[in-house]
Amino acid sequence: MGSPAAYSDASQAELVRRACEGDKEAFYSLVRPCERAVYVAAMSIMNNAADAEEVAQEAVLKALAHLAGFRAEAKFSTWLIQITINEARSRLRKDRRHLYDSIDEPRTDEEGDYSPKDFADWREIPSEALKRDELRNALKRALDTLPLKYREVLILRDIQNLSIEETAEILGISQGNVKTRLLRARLQMRDALAPGIDGSWSTGKPEYKKVRPW
């Protein structure tokens, strides 16, 4: 996908102005550089490609409908990601009320310490040893098993490259909570992936070498 370079602040303002006057091409020019970010934000919550695409489309249409309310000093991409996250959350609430445990939790910092499950050595990413599909599947499985509240933070920070501050604002949690959840997310991902790097999904063997000091 060849995505065009992001626009400058001045051209963002100009595109917003034209889009507000009904210029759909101008609106698409605003959306296009962040369409991947929008899809990934939706995926972080929906965890399903078809649902994520629907949420992404719905979020973009909502942005179009509410463009007049966009503050000129804000970043369009951050605003659009926020709308996407809200759309995905409300969709998930409707679809799976009984399964959904994270969004409506009190926003307290209840996280205890997390200890790595093993100490498998993983100095290098053996990229040549891994087929791309294999790597993608292992990553997907690891992301799937992350609880939602960790996955959304990991994705906003480590895929979307948003700052701690932006991530906190978008998710409506404190910056301290972003850091705590990011730590947990990264350590759990390492636990899920490091032993595999050592054997199970690079060689196809079900067993792998674990290094436990106790």
């Binding site: 698409y28 899809y39 050595d121 100095r123 990413i125 790597l135 990553l139 790097i197």
Partner: protein, 78 residues
């Protein structure tokens, strides 16, 4: 310069901030000294850095084919 020792548990607590270069210089020095002497924490650090690299690559979430065209059509049809 000698640094005050730090436990593995404290290292894990700050690991993510360390990877993001978001720890005070004094703590950074203590953590670096710890990584030199503790192979387990060094392995966890290396693994965590690799996670950040792999996730950032975005291979887990590729855009479905035709996504852009369908989105464009939705906007035009609105």
């Amino acid at each position: 310069m000698s640094v005050i020792e730090i436990s593995c548990l404290e290292v894990w607590r700050e690991l993510s901030n360390y990877v993001d270069d978001d720890v005070a210089p004094e703590l950074r020095a203590r953590m670096e000294a710890h990584f030199k002497s503790c192979a387990h924490c060094k392995a966890v650090l290396d693994g965590t850095k690799n996670v950040v690299k792999l996730v950032a690559d975005g291979v887990a979430y590729e855009l479905p084919s035709g996504f852009s065209d369908r989105l464009y059509r939705k906007i035009k049809d609105k």
